[in-house]
Symmetry: C2
Subunit: 223 residues, 2 copies
């Protein structure tokens, strides 16, 4: 099994996260690196989605992944083994989110000169990660079908801050009471600008569309 | 549609939550009220499970429910309509967890003299609620099959603090790569004392067992 670098993230000392996040965003822009902050509840399928997506992108752009978890290194190893791209594991030491300074601690371990896209897999949590700007170029989230179509009503901030909502596990739609149109309507209520892409990381449905979205973001960001 | 009481919870001013939680636990013991703190990730099926369980218990003991959510009142209304037991909605104002003082703010709106069991449906989140003792008599959590059997590895504290783990949505087990025995093994690694009950709030599997567990807790607590 591949070994991955595990970074123990220290609690942020910056008082003003917004300022720090803006500074990081500018810095990344200077490097020509697009940082996607990917959020979701636990078990929504973030890692499987990333593997599928990265395998469609890695011959076109240079991708790296930072996996944030309270404990464990399973996800970073999975990404590295299944895609071959650089993946590091961030341990949050029990903390429920990442802020800009914590994100920077992870980025310090990547060779940004040779990277176009960094995907940050944030801690599985629909509440706290939405409250902290990581300095990302864009925010995306995964809502999986078994969680229910009412989540935008219950976790308003998360849906408000996301540029893209992936609705994952569409393959099991027949076994759950999930109405995609209703879900889209709820998302729109929280954030009229958010795009919604239904995907199945298992069957591959919608993954091309997500990969195209990412590619477009990265290319536009470089200009 | 039934109207429910919505309580806007204020941020706790107590510096020492553990002390406050112990005091609340003693007080509840004095009232003969058993408080179950029920936690889970978003969309694991807490409310549906409660409806099924309460309908099996309500002729034997007097039950009340506190639904904690960042926003909305859907869950409290659902509980009240489907079971007829008192249900109030706690709004956390964006906060990701409840502590003992916040729990007390909710309990103040229930008539504890006439209640044997209060179930607190905590904010949908596998991280923060585990860090704050609510003053509950016991902690339980729901892990749903679509979330994956590896969650005890990723959210160690949550599984460490729970006396009972309900594995919900067993009806969709055939469509997911979820190994119940492996899951039990992971739970045991975090907490050798935790009981695991597989349930399906949809088909009713295991709900009798959960109801019996609760009844036993309430009866033992009264002695």
């Amino acid at each position: 099994m591949d070994e991955v670098k595990i970074i123990e993230i220290k609690k942020s000392v910056f008082a003003d996260n917004e300022k720090d996040a803006d500074a990081l965003r500018q810095e990344l822009k200077g490097w020509g690196v697009f940082l996607l902050n990917l959020m979701s509840a636990p078990g929504s399928g973030k890692t499987t989605t990333l593997i599928q997506t990265i395998n469609r992108l890695k011959d076109k752009i240079r991708v790296a992944v930072m996996e944030a978890d309270i404990d464990g290194d399973v996800d970073a190893i999975r990404i590295k083994e299944a895609t071959g791209v650089p993946a590091i594991q961030l341990h949050t030491g029990g903390m429920c989110h990442l802020d800009a300074e914590m994100t920077r601690q992870g980025l310090d371990h990547l060779n940004l000169e040779n990277i176009d896209l960094v995907i940050l897999e944030n801690v599985g949590n629909l509440v706290c990660p939405a409250e902290f700007d990581t300095g990302s170029s864009a925010n995306a989230m995964i809502l999986s079908v078994p969680e229910g179509d009412d989540k935008p009503l219950k976790y308003p901030l998360m849906f408000s801050v996301c540029d893209l909502v992936l609705v994952n596990k569409t393959d099991v739609m027949p076994y759950f009471d999930f109405d995609l149109e209703r879900c889209k309507e709820y998302v729109k209520r929280r954030n009229p600008m958010a795009q919604v892409i239904p995907i199945s990381a298992k069957t591959g449905e919608g993954i091309d569309q997500f990969a195209d979205w990412l590619l477009h973001q990265v290319q536009t960001h470089k200009k």
